[in-house]
Symmetry: C2
Subunit: 237 residues, 2 copies
DNA sequence: CGGGCGCTTGATAGGCCTCAACGTAAGTGG
DNA sequence: CCACTTACGTTGAGGCCTATCAAGCGCCCG
């Protein structure tokens, strides 16, 4: 294995498949065209035609759908190294909106570069497909969470999942991580009301399990919490 | 456009991309090795290594995950023409179980054939990726459903979604379709209790909106129901 | 300094769950 | 051919989890 890349995207792909320096170079080339977006900016609108696809370099983003009744369901939380809007490369039309949570940097992916990378290096292609596959696994896991777990476990699992994902790109440890999400974001991601999220968070804090506050998530005892909530990160690998 | 294929898989792919006779032949070749499974048979177990991938030829199947607390979350309902366990071609390990609902016929896909088909005909490859993409869109939609809609609309949407999917492979019309699911299946798919599913179904039946009974789903007025529940099948295309 | 946003907390209500009992139909074995 | 079993569907009673409404606090920013 070569040196661990600092670039989160390369780092994430390396976790799936051990890439050579040359292959890492190709990955690097994929995101030349960096763009900057301010916090709150909507990169892609639901229903938009031919939206761009990006790799998130720094900052967080969320993808969501707005229901007819006006409520919002967050269907994905993206952290550095994640791909934004991969699906729309195929469909030519986005079925969800993507919004920057923080001020972010994103690298636009051109279909051409991607296809070329696929041709040249099947290993990189496979790694990207793995990333897409992991993406789906995360959605499926969330589906199970919302459908069959109570509010407390739902929140714990989401916080642990983010811990796992951030750690894999070097932005977190078992002790915790910086998290720009608001309680309302959690509510929209987990199918709950913001008020109830607040209550559960308070309970978790008072029970000395997790603290979600001031932009930081802090685990008192990560492993005990994982055992208590029966969290198993296997679905992501 | 050539003649509409009777084969549900070919028919489904044709809906995404208009395939030539030659390409349809290749699709046909993919599923030579037909297998038969009795109702209730579990084709793939959660955690199983190197599980097979199939195309469902006839009958229905469900994929699900069992939560630590013993409850079951159905994450996918497969009808003829759908692919079973595509993800595990990449991951080498299934993160969900797949079970036959009816006595089914399934064609095993060999990685080799698939790769070959991809090489020979990028159009077929694209169509299959579209199918995978549709699959994800369906999960995302269900996530929104469970998270942000009440029981009644949740059930209606699922029944309408199945109507749409079955119609696209020639197994249903706007009037209704044969449906082997039990009320418990609906409950496990929608994150509800079987008892509550029963009550909501009764209400829908008495309101003359949908009838779910004796293995058949019957819509009194499909379009009115779609409008009432604000169902929009766009996410599947 | 007003206003917006996020967080907090209390009171109240309701949707859905759980428990439990019973009906019905189909399959099994003697 | 009938007792027995099993699976699915139906219905009622009671209660919990979570939503909703409402009000107040602190902070940042124009």
């Amino acid at each position: 294995m070569s040196v661990v890349p600092t670039n989160p995207f390369a780092r994430k792909l390396s976790a799936f498949i051990d890439l050579s320096d040359e292959e890492l170079g190709i990955v690097e080339n994929i995101h030349q065209r960096r763009k900057h977006f301010f916090a709150g900016r909507v990169l892609v609108h639901e229903g938009q035609k031919d939206p761009a696809t990006y790799v998130l370099v720094s900052g967080w983003a969320i993808s969501y759908k707005v229901q007819p009744n006006g409520e919002r369901q967050i269907v994905g939380i993206q952290v550095p190294g994640d791909i934004l809007g991969l699906r729309s490369l195929l469909t030519k039309r986005s079925d969800q909106s993507i919004e920057a949570i923080l001020s972010i940097q994103a690298a636009e992916i051109e279909v051409f570069d991607l296809v070329e990378a696929f041709m040249k290096t099947p290993r990189v292609a496979t790694a990207i497909l793995c990333a897409a596959s992991q993406d789906k696994a995360i959605v499926v896991e969330r589906l199970g969470s919302i459908g069959r777990r109570d509010a407390e476990v739902r929140i714990i699992h989401l916080l642990l999942e983010l811990c796992y994902r951030l750690t894999s790109v070097g932005l977190g440890t078992k002790a915790g991580y910086a998290c720009p999400l608001t309680q309302s974001h959690l509510a929209d991601a987990l199918g709950m009301s913001p008020v109830h999220v607040n209550r559960v968070l308070r309970k978790l804090r008072e029970a000395r399990m997790v603290t979600f506050r001031d932009g930081f998530v802090t685990f008192t005892d990560h492993d005990r919490l994982a055992a208590y909530s029966r969290f198993d990160p296997d679905y992501m690998s």
